[in-house]
Symmetry: C2
Subunit: 153 residues, 2 copies
């Protein structure tokens, strides 16, 4: 990650190296290497999450970042957040069947916020997060039918 003092643009990077079959070693900065693979039913050795699972991890992580940032702006108090995301993929798309979207047909996210704030404040938090969250907007702009349900507990 690199950002200058002048520019609002940051550049992020990742390197990858094919291991064998559909398994790849992934390196982000100084962090421990990640591995992506596929389950055996999709031709892999299942030694790591598959790429679309990493997209859902990014979605959960990004909504959590934005929730923290927007909550500070709104003075919204919370003590915990749990996130669940699931996405449907029609594998005929990646197999090359014309007319089938290769990425998500639909993505559903559930967000449980531990808070005593009232429902209208939670709704404002959700709306503001969703309007600004990079990964949520990536999915929405791609037509991936993202729907999110936020509840307070």
């Amino acid at each position: 990650m690199a950002a200058s003092n002048q520019s609002p643009v940051v550049t992020v990077r990742c390197r990858g190296e094919w291991e064998e079959g559909v398994r790849t070693r992934l390196q982000i900065r100084r962090f421990a290497p990640l591995r992506s693979d596929e389950p055996e039913q999709l031709g892999g050795t299942d030694q790591g999450p598959n790429p679309m699972e990493y997209i859902l991890a990014a979605l959960n992580g990004c909504v959590s970042v934005m929730l923290h940032m927007v909550a500070r702006e709104l003075g919204f108090a919370y003590e915990g957040v749990e996130l669940e995301a699931e996405g449907d993929i029609d594998v005929r798309g990646l197999q090359g069947v014309p007319g089938v979207r290769p990425h998500f047909q639909a993505v559903r996210q559930r967000v449980r916020v531990t808070t005593s704030e009232p429902p209208e404040r939670l709704a404002l938090l959700k709306e503001t997060v969703e309007s600004r969250c990079p990964v949520a907007n990536l999915l929405k702009d791609a037509g991936a039918n993202l729907t999110a349900t936020w509840v307070s507990v």
Copy 2:
């Protein structure tokens, strides 16, 4: 990941739990938990990749999967693949500045394939992978200006 014998649709999942600040613990199936965070300049503790870095990891992993799959279909022989991805983010988008796309302004990928196949076969491999790769199509459909350069070595 769940797939029935009848349906071409698979569903992938990820769970997340907020740790503190902008740091989140992410769980995919039985794999070791991941962590997403932000660098200190973006308000985090930098204990893990940030969400947009996970998106680039997914891109590298997914292109590698598709390369293997399509190479088998084409009878394309290769001995190695190295992938580099970088993406530009204008942070004014996530800060709520209207009219600024919150996700990638541009994504560049370089793919080095160790092969003795001729350039036109590499071009066919690239074109076929890009037309079917879930993550590449997610970025393209979202208007993230993905450009890829493939070379043989």
